[in-house]
């Protein structure tokens, strides 16, 4: 779109057929509904040269016309007025839904894909008003903007819009500052990546106790009302306030992701952690309340404790099991956290992260051959971006770090029923003050 609109070069964009609806939608919301696009079958990845050539010699699976005819005509056939779409179009969102019975409204919310397919609490004016009382912020105040993916447009939302989604999720007004802080992160928990991502968030500071969040046994769910509904609210507000999360249109996660039901929302077990709380590591005071937000949560590895003889190797195996494109976030039960001190002497969390960084290595040849590394890291390395440009110089058998040190994180959560711990593959985005949204 940039090449066509900004640089004045006639273009045709090639896509695979699974993305038909989404790429046409993206073109429309970028003001170019008539963008010339041609389609070939999915996938491209892993196909031989002969198979790819057959795609090119074949027909466009969307239009049924020869692919190369679509391409050549896309560059040479003039546009007519109907290709261009309206000069300007506005998509206003009414404040209220047409009055109806509760049963019909519940069906409408489901049909409009405003839910996560579980029953919701209908956001009546009375309930939304009560939710708004959970914060001093004004209902019409802008909280932020969000979008489901890089190429889509940002949608904007107010305090009242966040309250509507918090009500739907079953959250209580006392939780509302946390929900607002999550919305203010502007990080979606409903990314549309075909890799089926989820959000992950956790809370630090006094508000954990004030609203009864769980950092102990069962913290990751589903055994605590605040953890469950705050996380659900984060997901619902993401999909609704960014303008949707509809499979095939604005959501392309190939398998979906069960973590999306409550965006892996919990509280850090600061009281039983041997290290400083996560939010303090990120510039907050211990008595501040804050929520930290991660994206791209997909992979999980787990084990029990740290054995005296081979704990280093066991950890290395777990790290090697992660896709190197998404860095590790260790969720440690307090028992496991203390074992890392007993076994490795990591009295500071930074020392543990240093060790994880130096342990998570693999041969350069294997690293660069990962598909996600090829898609997202290799291009940046060839562009000269560090540290990847230097990694690119390594011999194929040379062991190189799988992750950047600054992308590795450690959080303490769990109730010490045992020393199980896990690694989530996820990208840290930011830590947001909750106190500012009280």
């Amino acid at each position: 779109m940039t090449v066509e609109a900004k640089y004045g070069v006639p273009t045709v964009a090639m896509h695979t057929d699974k993305f038909d609806r989404v790429v046409r939608s993206v073109a429309t919301v970028n003001g170019m509904p008539g963008l010339r696009q041609a389609f070939v079958p999915q996938p491209i990845m892993g196909k031989t040269a002969a198979q790819l050539r057959a795609y090119i010699n074949g027909t466009d699976p969307i239009t049924g016309r020869p692919v190369m005819q679509e391409v050549i005509e896309g560059l040479t056939q003039p546009f007519n007025e109907s290709d261009l779409g309206p000069v300007e179009f506005d998509r206003s969102t009414p404040r209220l839904v047409e009055p109806d019975t509760a049963e019909n409204l519940e069906r409408l919310f489901l049909e409009n894909r405003w839910t996560d397919m579980l029953p919701i609490v209908l956001p009546t004016e009375e309930r939304v008003h009560a939710m708004l009382a959970g914060s001093r912020r004004k209902p019409d105040e802008i909280v932020g903007r969000m979008r489901s993916t890089h190429f889509r447009e940002y949608w904007e939302y107010t305090v009242e819009k966040v309250a509507v989604n918090a009500v739907m999720a079953g959250a209580r007004p006392a939780y509302f500052p946390v929900v607002l802080a999550l919305a203010a992160s502007c990080v979606t928990a409903r990314g549309s990546s075909s890799s089926a991502v989820a959000g992950m968030s956790f809370v630090n500071g006094p508000i954990r106790d004030e609203i009864g969040m769980n950092a102990g046994t069962g913290a990751l769910g589903p055994y605590n009302h605040a953890n469950a509904t705050i996380g659900r609210a984060y997901g619902l507000l993401s999909q609704n306030l960014q303008g949707g999360s509809i499979p095939g249109l604005s959501y392309m996660g190939n398998q979906g992701n069960n973590y999306n039901y409550n965006s892996l929302t919990f509280a850090e077990n600061e009281e039983r952690s041997p290290w400083e709380p996560f939010h303090v590591q990120h510039g907050f005071q211990p008595m501040d309340s804050a929520v930290s937000v991660f994206s791209s949560c997909r992979a999980t590895a787990f084990t029990l404790g740290l054995r005296e003889k081979h704990w280093r190797e066991h950890c290395a195996n777990m790290l090697r099991g992660m896709d190197p494109h998404t860095p590790p976030v260790l969720l440690l039960d307090p028992i496991a956290a203390r074992q890392f001190i007993d076994r490795g002497g990591f009295t500071k969390k930074d020392a543990l992260i240093d060790w994880l960084y130096s342990t998570a290595k693999m041969p350069a040849g294997e690293y660069w051959d990962y598909q996600l590394i090829q898609n997202y890291i290799y291009p940046r390395a060839t562009f000269g971006e560090e540290p990847w440009a230097s990694k690119l110089k390594a011999a194929p058998d040379e062991l190189i770090p799988m992750f950047r040190r600054e992308d590795i994180h450690v959080v303490v959560v769990g109730g010490e029923t045992n020393g199980y711990w896990r690694i989530m593959g996820a990208n840290y985005q930011k830590t947001v003050s909750i106190d500012e949204w009280r």
Binding site: V3, A5, Y7, V9, P10, T11, V12, A13, M14, T16, V23, N30, G31, L35, P43, I44, K47, A49, L52, R53, M68, V71, I72, Q77, P78, F79, L84, E88, R91, S92, T93, P94, R95, L96, P99, D100, T101, A102, E103, P123, T124, E125, V128, E153, Y154, W155, E156, Y157, T158, V164, M168, N240, Q242, G243, G244, N375, Y378, P379, T382, F383
Partner: protein
């Protein structure tokens, strides 16, 4: 609440930005004698696909000059130097393979 009672609820959807139409580049009369850039977005083996397309042009439309051009970095990053090159040296572009 009576099951037949009509109630009023709030709409949970955010506010979309206003969309303004963008201009398209004029189309070419013909591709004969023209330079077409095949722009590799460097995702999921798109380079292999576009090289096959380049071979198709060589076989079926030899009068078209094609330039295989990978973008400088990852597709999430704007690439003005490549776009400037295409504007200066090319007549048309085929970008792929997007998803």
């Amino acid at each position: 609440m009576n099951a037949n009672e009509k109630i009023t609820v709030l709409n949970p959807v955010g506010f979309a930005p206003k969309i303004a139409r963008k201009a398209f580049a004029p189309r070419l009369d013909t591709l004969n004698g023209k330079t077409v850039y095949l722009v590799d977005c460097r995702f999921d083996d798109s380079d292999l696909f576009l090289k096959q397309m380049q071979a198709w042009f060589a076989e079926h439309m030899p009068s078209v000059r094609t330039v295989f051009k990978p973008i400088s970095s990852v597709y999430l990053v704007d690439d003005p130097s490549t776009w400037e090159e295409i504007r200066a040296k090319g007549d048309a572009a085929i970008l792929g393979v997007g998803h």
